[in-house]
Every structure is written in C-alpha cells, then in structure tokens.
C-alpha cells in the first residue's frame, strides 16, 4: 500500500500551521538543548587538544625565597643537579629575572614601575627541564620541589593546563545536565504538539479508522511533524556550534596564551554536528512515536 508523498506533505504542513506557537516552542527548546549538548562536546575536544599540546616541552620553575641562607641555596642547587628526574637546570639571577620580566610586561608600564621601585619583589628562580614528558610525573616533581627549604613555590605550565581541565570538566558537566534537562523538555513539547495536532484532527482520524486506513497511514504525517521539528531544531543548533567553533579557533590562534591550541579539529567538529542532527531526529521521532502510541489505540 503506497503512502503518497503529496498526502504526507499536505497533512504535515497543515498540522504544523495549526499549532504554530507550540511548533516554535518545540523547535527553540530543541535548538537550545542540542546547541548546549554540542558545545559541551566541542569544548571537550578543545581541552583534549590543548592538554596534548602542553605535554611537550614543559618547564618547571622553582622560585627561590629571598630569605634563603647560602647553605640552603647550595643544597638546593646540588639537589637539582643530582635529581634523577631532572634533565637540566638553569639559575636565573636578579638580572636575568628582571630582563625576562621586562620582556613579558613590555607593554604594561604599571607593572614595570612596580618592580623598578621594589626590585626585591622579583624572586630568583631555577628553570628545570624534566627528564620525562609524563604529565603526572612532572606534576609530582613540581610538588616535591615546592616543599624544599628555601623554596617559595614550584610551578609548571601544567598547573595552568590542569586548572583549565578542571574548570572545563565542571563546565562540561553543568552544560550536559542542563542540556539533558532541556532535551527532555523538547521531547515533551514535541509530544504535546503532536497531541494537539491529533486532537485537532480527531474526527478525521476517527473516519480514517472507520474506513480501514492502516495505523501507519494515520501515523506518518504526525511522525514527519516530530522529525521536522527535530531537524529544524538541530539545524539551528549546528549553526550555533559553527559560531562557537569559530570563536574557539580565534582564541586558539592567539600565540602564547593558555588557550593556544584550544580548538577541535575539523573531523571532531563534523562528528559533533552529525551527532547533534542524529540526536535531534531521534528525539523528534521518539516524542511523536510516544504521543502516537498513547493516543492512537486501534
């Protein structure tokens, strides 16, 4: 038994026009929730590429307390030279530290003035190249060196990366929770839109059943409605994701910030988009299928 295309198109568009507000509500909720879902995926991909980039060539900086005694300093120096996990260490004295500081804060007169007036604020430091590239080993090395006597603080770029990872995983969880809640709302809105459409057409459905239309024939226009809402919603979400991706690309291109390299690859973006569209269609179909199974008993 053939389902005629013109019949399906006609009935579906009539249904959607009849409930414009509900249709729009369902689409917007769908777009927002899928947009958030896709953003969470995209941010995760960005953070992953960020962390992998920072895994190479990480330096540990050991800041030395100004009140360090010469004996302590000697012991520290010896320790760094003998440490099996350290490939190389280099001491930055007052001049070298100031030179570097002035280079970094080249464009910030206030910061420059502050150090000029109080040169003792700027600590000396050891620059250490770890023997290993292992994130965890570098982090524990840095932690261990921070506890040595006469050491102010030991830090590495990985601390920053770890902070970004930490914040982003919290953000991802939050976004995902909101997205799932909204996806559920979108599904219920679609369910409601289909119910309203079926209610508006209950006389036609009654007649269709009486003359022997199959349930599939009755269902298809309503399922199409749910799927179209899913598709339009996910299309809007995809355009939002494209914008987010552009923004991440521009952040990523800024040299020497913590976010350098914070961008998903083209194939990752593609995967995000496809999963958003598929999810949208599935939710539209599930929402309408649910409505139909509950309100279309033989």
């Amino acid at each position: 038994m053939a389902l005629k295309l013109d019949y399906v198109v006609r009935e579906t568009s009539t249904n959607m026009r009849r409930n414009v507000t509900l249709t729009i509500a369902a689409i917007v909720t769908m777009a927002v929730s899928l947009g958030l879902f896709g953003s969470a995926m995209l941010i995760r991909a960005g953070v992953d590429s960020l962390s992998s980039r920072w895994k190479e060539g990480v330096e540990v900086i050991v800041f030395v307390d100004r009140k360090i005694t010469p004996e302590q300093n000697e012991a520290l120096k010896q320790k760094l030279e003998d440490h099996p996990e350290i490939a190389n260490s280099r001491f930055m004295d007052d001049d070298a530290s100031r030179e570097e500081y002035e280079r970094i804060f080249d464009d910030n007169q206030a910061m420059l003035d502050r150090i000029k007036e109080n040169p003792e604020l700027l600590p000396n430091s050891y620059r250490i190249t770890p023997a290993t590239g292992e994130t965890q080993a570098i982090l524990s090395l840095s932690e261990q060196l921070g506890k040595e006597p006469g050491v102010l603080r030991a830090t590495s770029a990985l601390d920053g990366v770890r902070r970004v990872q930490h914040i982003s995983s919290a953000a991802q969880t939050g976004i995902l929770v909101v997205a799932v809640g909204l996806l559920l709302a979108a599904m219920l809105l679609i369910l409601n839109a289909i119910r309203m459409a079926m209610f508006a057409r209950r006389r036609e459905i009654e007649v269709m059943k009486l003359v022997g239309a199959t349930n599939w024939f009755i269902r298809v226009p309503f399922m199409m409605e749910g799927m179209i809402q899913g598709i339009v919603g996910s299309a809007l979400a995809v355009s939002g994701i494209v914008f987010l991706n552009r923004y991440m690309q521009s952040l990523s291109k800024d040299q020497n910030t913590i976010l350098t390299g914070f961008a998903a690859s083209g194939s990752e973006v593609m995967v995000v988009m496809i999963s958003v569209v598929v999810l949208g269609i599935v939710i539209g179909a599930v929402g309408s299928g649910w409505a139909l199974s509950r309100f279309l008993k033989v």
């Binding site: 007649v207 009486l210 003359v211 022997g212 239309a213 199959t214 349930n215």
Partner: protein, 225 residues
C-alpha cells in the same frame, strides 16, 4: 457473513451490554436490530466492526474469527465494512466530493480509481450536483446520503447503520431507506439498528429484538413489535 455464537460483552464497571447472543446473518440479508436504548444494539454493531472485542463466545465476520484477527489486520477487515451513523460523521472542512474521496485516499487507492468512483457513487446517492458543497450547506438527509456514499464507495460486503434516520423527518427517512434497500439489492449485507417503528413495519425484513443484552426475538419478516 456474520455469525454470533454465544457472544457476551461486559463493559468496565460491569455494565452488561450483551449476554450470550447467538445469531447468523447471511450474505445479502437486510436485518433490523430493535430494542430500547441500552439493550445492546450499538454494541453488536461495534463488535462486528471490531471497535470492541467480545469477552465470551465466538464472532465470525466475512469468514474471519474476530478473536484471532491481529490488530494489524483490523484495518483490512474494516475495508469490507461500511458504517453510517445518526450524526453522519462528515468532515466539516471538506467538500462532499472530498469527504467521499477521503475514504478511498486513506486506504491508498490510486488517484485514477478515486476520479472514477467518487462521481459514480455521488450519482447513485443523487448528490452529483452538490459535489463541491460543504456538509453544512446540505440538509440532514443530504448529509446522510454523503455519509452513505462514503461508506459504500469502496463496495464493502457489509453495511452497518446505527440509527441512520434518527435525526431525519419521516419523508426524508423514506428516501434514505430506499437508498439502503437499493444498496442491499446489489448483494451488500445491511445491518441497521433503529428505533423507527414505521420503517421497520413498512420494510418487512428480518428483525432481531434485543432487551437488556439478550436476543428476545428473531423474525424473518418481522415488524417492530
């Protein structure tokens, strides 16, 4: 064509609609179901159409055991059964032509069949000149003719009529009965539930009388009472 064997139907809340009814209706018969309101006439029709299922007993329609038919096959059973009602059940936003064509479209008949059959059936019921009118522009008798056209356009084996003249004046009712009689003479089995004494008495057809769910009379050339 239709066989009830000891059929019972009890609705929720233990309302006994039909109790141990046995009757056999042959192909081409014209049968009146009479009895007071709530005696089970509509339930019998709804069972034949499988809008309801029997709780007990066996019911065969067009050679099918309705207890064994899967719900997927029900639409195909209904294509053998036309239905008309007291309130016509026409779609108000479709024209006469569209109302009748709708019944063919939704069972997937090709457009060429629709174009051929709808004008023919409208001519049969005498409404070929009002094909483009809306139901609300028609009289009650005309609306019932549209509903008969819709029920009969697919040439069903059985026509079920639930008080088709209930809203019509006697003269119009006679016209509707002539039409049903004509359809019956093409070989279609007609089962009609009615309260209309004069129609039953004039037609002199088989009468099954129900009272509180029991068949109390089954007469071959019966009258209302």
């Amino acid at each position: 064509m239709i066989t009830f064997e000891n059929v019972s139907k009890v609705y929720k809340g233990s309302i006994k609609a039909l109790l141990g009814c046995t009757a056999n209706i042959e192909k081409g018969e014209f049968v009146f179901l009479v009895g007071p309101s709530g005696s089970g006439k509509s339930t019998m029709l709804r069972l034949i159409n499988r809008e309801e299922t029997a709780d007990n007993g066996q019911l065969f329609v067009a050679g099918k055991d309705l207890a064994r038919i899967s719900s997927r096959r029900v639409p195909f059973l209904r294509r053998n059964i036309g239905c008309i009602f007291q309130d016509y059940k026409l779609l108000p936003n479709k024209t006469v032509y569209e109302n009748v064509a709708f019944a063919l479209e939704v069972i997937g008949r090709p457009r060429s069949v629709v174009h051929a059959q709808v004008p023919a059936i409208l001519e049969l019921v005498g409404l070929d000149e009002k094909a483009e009118g809306l139901p609300e522009e028609l009289s009650g008798g005309e609306q019932q003719r549209v509903s008969i056209a819709r029920a009969f356009v697919n040439r069903p084996l059985i026509l079920l009529a639930d008080e088709p003249t209930g809203n019509l004046d006697p003269a119009t009712s006679v016209g509707i009965m002539r039409l049903l009689d004509r359809i019956n003479r093409t070989g279609t089995t007609v089962v009609m539930a009615t309260h209309d004494r004069s129609i039953v008495d004039t037609m002199q057809r088989r009468v099954i009388e129900l009272d509180q769910g029991h068949i109390v009379r089954d007469q071959v050339r019966g009258v209302y009472q």
